[in-house]
Symmetry: C2
Subunit: 248 residues, 2 copies
DNA sequence: TATCATTGTGTCAAGGCGACACAATCAATG
DNA sequence: CATTGATTGTGTCGCCTTGACACAATGATA
């Protein structure tokens, strides 16, 4: 592909999307008792970033976020929550743009000022196979504390998104989207501990979660460990939905 | 002003702002023991709407919201909170646009699809003198239940904004921005009741608010009523700020 | 069969919150 | 000027939630 073709491609992309507006997604997964975030590296540059993209004229912002995530995770109907829109003047910086766009004629076409709508996604870690495309050199899970320096304000976006997720979990049993189909109570507890960043009391955690009346205890038990075999649970989708609809 | 001049004006406006992106503001005030919202009527059309505007290329979205509100309320440094970004495809509809823009050539220039960032503002009702400009025929306070049918999805925006405000007040003593400098405890209670839409117990309300340690009880008492004269309080700004910075 | 880390469950005390009671007060009333 | 009545300030009681902790049950391993 020569430079003229690339210019045409970029021109086309901008013509069919909302100019100066983008979506950034934080994809949360849970693995090895820790919260992981999907981050990707642009082309062959040293530019890590959150999964992001532009919004087509003929799609809602929610649909746009779903599409962007489908491209990265090949998962449909992902749980998505909009948490904040970032619109400071200095949130994008020209150095990061230059790193990503080594061609001055292309760089010229990129809007210098961009506003971005932040979404976070909750996905089941094991079901995701990070996908590459022609603009992506790498796509990896990172622990929250191991995140690389990312472009623009993406590290700050993660910070705000994490706060938002933590605020949610105080009221909601978020695990539904992050855990596998079946799980044990200690596993669910580790998820909550990972999100909150602090240990929880086993007994009280169990009582609280069960009081929500959204879990079903299955017949089977999880054997294999050299310990008392824990019960296996699963979320009851209808009851979970009902729980979300309550007061507040 | 002839139609060509108007076309130029609109062209200029769009050239200096973020296309397809706007800001809608809910201005909350408190008066007569009820929550009021500022709504304005466009030109001489029957088109009520929330205060709104476009975002200049050289201002942050927060600044844009402040500027838009300054034009309506002539208040500076208003308390503003971003609560949601609205981006459904059908949120704007062509009939409302036609009502507002009777000139086909102008209507042609208006983006058919628009995304809007929702902010709510908390202001002291008595300090606001609703301002008109050349595009605004009327600017009035409405009770939450007396709001007129507004254009686009503005009624829905109010609904979401109100929910957001109610969620806040469960944790925060929001009155700081809505009450006058000094006030009595029953007055503050009426504010909370107006926002929550349900009566609160006097004794418990007082205990809870005072426990936050953000109010100062003044020497004076509020006389005039044929009853026991209540104490007069005021917010201690530093302590209020400190309270906001706490855990969650 | 004993061991031991892990899990399920019960108990108990402290704190928070709602419901309610009672005293204090101030203008209006006669 | 004493009485009245609505309103306000404050204390108390009991329930429920939550946190802290204890103890029994379990199952692979040695």
């Amino acid at each position: 592909m020569n430079i003229e073709e690339l210019e045409d491609l970029v021109r086309q992309m901008y013509a069919s999307t909302m100019p100066g507006l983008s979506i950034d997604c934080i994809v949360f997964g849970f693995h090895d008792s820790a919260i992981k975030i999907l981050s990707l590296r642009f082309n062959n540059a040293d530019a890590w970033m959150l999964p992001n993209g532009l919004i087509f004229h003929k799609e809602s912002i929610q649909q746009a976020a779903q599409r962007i995530l489908l491209e990265r995770t090949s998962l449909k109907d992902i749980f998505l929550k909009q948490f904040y829109t970032f619109g400071d003047l200095d949130r994008t910086n020209i150095e990061d743009m230059k790193t990503m766009m080594p061609f001055p004629s292309i760089l010229e076409m990129v809007p210098k000022r961009a506003i971005s709508i932040g979404y976070y996604a909750l996905v089941e870690h094991s079901k995701v196979q990070p996908q590459l495309d022609f603009m992506t050199a790498e796509c990896r899970w990172f622990g929250v504390d191991e995140l690389p320096k990312m472009i623009f304000d993406h590290n700050k976006i993660v910070e705000i998104g994490l706060k938002s997720l933590r605020a949610q979990i105080d009221h909601l049993p978020i695990g539904y989207h992050l855990m596998p189909e079946t799980f044990t109570m200690p596993e669910l507890q580790k998820l909550h501990e990972a999100i909150l960043g602090e240990p929880l009391d086993r007994a009280n955690f169990q009582k609280r979660i069960l009081s929500y009346d959204i879990l079903e205890r299955l017949e089977e038990r999880r054997t294999g460990g050299a310990h008392k075999s824990p019960y296996v649970y699963r979320f009851i989708p209808e009851k979970y939905e009902a729980f979300l609809q309550r007061e507040f």
